[in-house]
């Protein structure tokens, strides 16, 4: 089981809050390592969330929900 964390888009504010803008996969989907899972935004900067491993993904944060950089937003089992 591997944690998927909200990317660090803002270096100046390590625990800045952002938004889970888009999930490209559904909860429970089978994903490949490196696959694009989602897109996040902090202020005006957008970033990609990639799968750190292959497996089944569990989404822990909903689309349009806020989350801080670094928190676990999904898991790959």
């Amino acid at each position: 089981m591997t944690d998927v964390r909200f990317p660090q888009l803002s270096q100046e504010q390590p625990d800045a809050e952002g938004v889970l803008a888009t999930w490209f996969v559904g909860d429970g989907d089978q994903v490949a390592s490196g696959q694009l899972l989602g897109e996040v935004m902090v202020e005006k900067v957008s970033g990609e969330v990639l799968a750190p491993a292959a497996g089944r993904v569990r989404l822990l944060v909903a689309e349009d929900q806020t989350a801080r950089q670094g928190v676990v937003i999904a898991r790959v089992e």
Partner: protein, 324 residues
């Protein structure tokens, strides 16, 4: 330059910056948590002028209410410097019925017939109408002038060249002012323009051209004074290029990842620099600075309150004003 003029330049720049800071606040106020460009009381694109105040203040100081000004998608500092009604301009930015355009135009399409001010969002396309306003003034036998503001990116657009040639050919009373803020969205001037200074393009049209460095409001004032005087004396057009700075993004929401000098940018703010200069000259005191800033805040907040308390246009009126 007399002290009174220098102080007025400072005041105009402070009012303009205060305004942009307030619009910035209002623009983002209801777009959280996720930035949704279409949400809130001020939706859509927003192009703010922080850093570019010297170009507007230095030029518009020479203009009368009956002189014409055309501007671009980044118009607020120019509108303020030329004396556009701040309440009605703000109401327009908020899309209200009491706005300059009854809410139809928004921040990129501000029209104020009282001050002959207009702006639009198509790059370089404000130049031909300005030459037309100048043409009318010439025919009407007045000494009124037109000023067209545009960006350094626009100097590579066809309308720019056609306008300069036509204005020169017919000796129209128009002043062309380029605000070179170094960036056409994400493209730096060196990557878009074959020569180092757009002021040098004036020679191609047989008109005087001058480039002002360092975002120096007093140098702008001096150059603009000459250009406006030439136009009023029926001696034809002039091109002025002001090397200025875009302190914020191209539009609000622009992360500016393409801009390597971003960390240095706040240090280039022209207003604290001019404030220091006038303080050293004994024209500004801490107390005077305070009262100028307070006055600006009060004026701006009054305009915002007016806008917010104005009615939104009724949907049933959506088809009106297509034709007179």
């Amino acid at each position: 330059m007399d002290d009174k003029t220098r102080l007025e330049l400072y005041q105009v720049m402070v009012l303009s910056r205060t305004y942009e800071e307030a619009i910035l606040r209002e623009y983002y106020a209801d777009k959280k948590p996720a930035f949704d460009i279409g949400a809130g009381l001020v939706p859509g694109e927003m192009h703010l002028s922080a850093g570019q105040e010297p170009a507007a203040a230095g030029v518009c100081a020479h203009l009368r209410r009956d002189d014409a000004v055309t501007a671009t998608h980044r118009p607020h500092h120019i509108a303020i410097a030329h004396g556009v009604d701040l309440d009605r301009m703000t109401a327009e930015i908020f899309g209200r019925e009491t706005g300059l355009g009854r809410g139809r135009g928004g921040h990129m399409h501000l029209f104020d017939p009282q001050t002959h001010f207009s702006c639009s969002g198509i790059v370089a396309e404000g130049l031909p109408p300005a030459t037309g306003q100048a043409f009318a003034f010439q025919r009407q036998g007045s000494d009124r002038v037109a000023v067209a503001f545009t960006g350094e990116g626009a100097a590579n657009q066809g309308a720019f060249h056609e306008s300069l040639n036509l204005a020169a050919l017919w000796k129209l009373p128009v002043v062309f002012v380029i605000e070179d803020n170094e960036w056409a969205i994400s493209v730096p001037r060196e990557a878009s323009t074959a020569i180092g200074s757009n002021a040098d393009r004036a020679a191609a049209y047989g008109i005087p051209g001058q480039r002002i460095e360092d975002n120096d409001v007093e140098a702008v004032y001096t150059a603009a004074g000459d250009a406006v005087a030439r136009a009023r004396a029926a001696e034809g057009p002039t091109l002025i290029e002001v090397h200025t700075v875009r302190l914020w993004g191209h539009f609000e929401g622009d992360a500016q990842g393409y801009r390597p000098d971003l960390a240095d940018v706040p240090g280039r703010d022209p207003i604290p620099a001019y404030e220091a200069r006038l303080s050293d000259a004994g024209i500004l005191t801490a107390g005077l600075v305070s009262s100028i800033k307070d006055e600006a805040v009060a004026r701006v907040e009054k305009a915002i309150d007016f806008a917010k308390s104005s009615p939104v246009p009724a949907p049933e009126t959506a088809l009106e004003y297509v034709f007179a």
